[in-house]
Each structure stands twice: as structure tokens, then as C-alpha cells.
Symmetry: C2
């Protein structure tokens, strides 16, 4: 059974990705990042989801003392788009919740872990359709990162490259949810809201993409039955 | 005065790189990584060197619980090449001191820091001449990493890419030392040995490259006068 490293944030996309990887027959090793995010609650969600999927997990604690993001700094506002039209955002600006180089950092750790444990693949639930416009969620970035990984690692230069797989990259949120329901993803335990409150705020980008996804899928979000 | 992030390990190459960047007029912000390396002593050296250069520094603590390297795991032997012919290694095998994806991780943090503090460049003292054969020290890797960085960051997509500079990449160790002496690099406070003893072991790759460098430069290594 091939091993895979799965980046698990505790949100809807990464949980679906984990169940997808498991269904593809991978023995999944989940990495959960504690990077000083406001919504620490997602870490508890991630552990719960990995446990329910009966997969190993590790929490990697990261210190980004320079911050530079509303997700790391409570003094900054979590922007929401005005006149939200998510699929074709009115403005292309990258929002305040962008964390500098976040996916590059996460993938670098995943690569290190994959080499050390002998995993053949890394799964990341990035999505470039119903998303906040972060540059490190787009196909071009992953393509470029694969090349850097292949030229900078032992496995890469020995011609046994580690695959970086983004199965959700071109799906809409409702397509992700519908496929996840079939895979048995326990969405009631996932956490999406950028603010770390008791209940989702319903206003941040992440909440709104989630609402839109369930609405378009014609389903009720089970998080509200918690 | 443009800001730069400088990766500072406390060894000879990174110290020279810091002094080079400073001489080029950059306001240098040093990142020092505590990643569980055996030779923790280099962290003390790095702080000392940054202080002597009157530059800001930050220690970034990283947890690589999967290890996979003799530099992280005292149970593994620190290999030394047999019949050492460093410039044209008899075997091309990557040694046991290779740390999976180390420079990818370091550069990712540097990129995050550079974006957050508004630095225009990242300096790394990688060298692909008198080196241990690590794939993440070669020019091809840096070229590929730059592309990933440009496509995955705000600064990259906004067409204000952060430069990644490797001024020592094609220099021999003796050339590095000779230029460093001119720049006033305090080599007596640098630390190269992979083993964390009181004095350098004189046998590991890192010690041997250092000895070779000073010998070929016709200079005495000031570390022995400490």
C-alpha cells in the first residue's frame, strides 16, 4: 500500500481530499499545521477528521513572527468582498487573509516528510474555482513547485519524484461537496470560518464559499446540527 | 536602503554572504534556523555574527519530527567520503547528512518573511563547488524555486518579484574565504563542524571543506585561536 502525505487543515476541501486519497488506496499520513492562525479551531477539526478516517496525523508547529496577514494578526480586518460574485470576482486583488508563502511552506514540509517516510505522493486540497484568489492555490504555482521539488530533493534527482496531487483544483465547491458526500466525508466536523468564534461568522469569504457550495449542491450544511 | 533577508547558519559561507549583502548596501534581516540539528552550536555562532555585523536577526524554530537525516538523528552515522577528492567526488551519492527538503523549507520561510517585511531580496550562501553534493545547493534548484516563488506569492503575481541571490554558488571555498577576509568576516566565530563537539572534529565533510579552503587560500583558520 503506497504511502501519501495529506495536508489537512480541517476545512471542507482538505477533508474531501483525505477521503479521496484514502479511496485511491493510499496509506495516508496527515500533516496538520499550527501556524498561529486565528481559527485554531480548525486544528481540532483536522485531528477529529483524521481520527475518523483512521489515518495517522502529526501537528507541525510553525512560527511566522513576521505575520503580514489578517489570519495571523487580530489587529487586521478580515476583508470580505463587496458585492460578492465569487466565481468572477469584481476585483482581482488578493485579500487581507493571504498568508505570505503559506502553501510553499506547507508543501516544503510535506516534501520533507514524504522523503523521510518514503511516501510516493502529496495531496493538497487546493481549489482555484471557488476560492479567495490566493496565488498559491493556482495550477501554475503547483506546476512550478513540482519542478523545484524535483530538482532540489534526493528523490527528485534519483528519478523517483514525489507526486504533488491537487484533485480538487478545477472543481466548484458544490462538486467537491457532492463527491465528498459519496466518499463519506464527515462534513459536520469540518471547520471553514476564518474567525475563530463558537459558530461560523457566515460573512468571511470562507463561510460564504461554503454556504454557496451547499446551496448549489441542494444540501443542508451539517455543521449547523452540531 | 533596500531590505534583504539573509539565511544565516553560522557557518563560513552564510557569514560571508551576510557581509557581502551588507557591502552591497542592503539592510539585512537574518533568519537563523533551529531545526533540531546536532550542531546546535552553529546557532550561537550565527547570533554572534549577526550582532557583530550589527544586523537584525530572528531564530525560527522548526520541527521535523520525521528526521531522515544524520544531522537530525544521533543514531545515524555522519558519513565521510572514502578517498576524499572533493572537487570530483568519486561517488555521486548524496551523503547521510542530507536533510530532506531543507533549503526548500528555509527559502519558503525567507520568502514569507521577505513579503511580510517588504524585502526586495533573499541571500543564501549555497555553494555547488566545494560542497557535500546536496541537490538543493545547485543552480538548477534555485532557478526552479524562483519560478515557484514568483507564481505562488503576492509580490510575484503583482510583478514585484523577490530576488533570490546566491553570490557564492560558483566559487571555491578558498575564493570564498579570500573575499570574506577582505569584507572583514569574523571567521573565528563561525562554526562548520556537523558534529556538535567542543572543537571541530576535523573529519566530517564540512570540516574537510573548511580545512581545504584555508589551506588553498594559504591562511590559518582563526577558529583554532578561540
Amino acid at each position: 500500500m503506497n504511502k501519501a502525505v495529506v495536508l489537512l487543515s480541517g476545512g471542507l476541501d482538505s477533508a474531501t481530499t483525505l477521503y479521496y486519497a484514502r479511496q485511491k488506496g493510499f496509506n495516508c499520513h496527515c500533516l496538520i499545521f499550527d501556524y498561529g492562525q486565528r481559527h485554531k479551531k480548525e486544528i481540532r477539526s483536522a485531528k477529529k477528521i483524521a481520527d475518523l478516517a483512521r489515518c495517522e496525523w502529526q501537528v507541525v508547529k510553525i512560527n511566522l513572527p513576521w505575520r503580514g496577514s489578517a489570519l495571523l494578526d487580530k489587529k487586521l480586518d478580515i476583508q470580505t468582498r463587496r458585492g460578492l460574485n465569487i466565481q468572477t470576482p469584481a476585483d482581482n486583488a488578493i485579500p487581507s487573509t493571504y498568508v505570505p508563502a503559506r502553501n510553499i511552506i506547507f508543501l516544503s514540509f510535506a516534501l520533507s516528510c514524504a522523503e523521510a517516510i518514503g511516501a510516493k505522493a502529496i495531496f493538497i486540497g487546493a481549489n482555484a474555482i471557488d476560492y479567495s484568489g490566493y496565488p498559491d492555490c493556482r495550477p501554475g504555482f503547483f506546476k512550478a513547485f513540482v519542478k523545484a521539488a524535483d530538482s532540489g530533493t534526493r528523490t527528485g534527482v534519483e528519478n523517483k519524484p514525489i507526486k504533488i496531487l491537487t484533485p480538487l483544483i478545477n472543481k466548484t465547491k458544490s462538486e467537491i461537496i457532492k463527491s465528498g458526500i459519496k466518499l463519506g466525508v464527515p462534513y459536520r466536523f469540518t471547520w471553514s470560518c476564518y474567525k475563530g468564534g463558537n459558530a461560523p461568522c457566515g460573512k468571511c469569504d470562507s463561510c460564504r464559499f461554503r454556504q454557496k457550495g451547499f446551496r448549489e449542491a441542494g444540501l443542508k450544511d451539517p455543521i449547523w446540527s452540531n
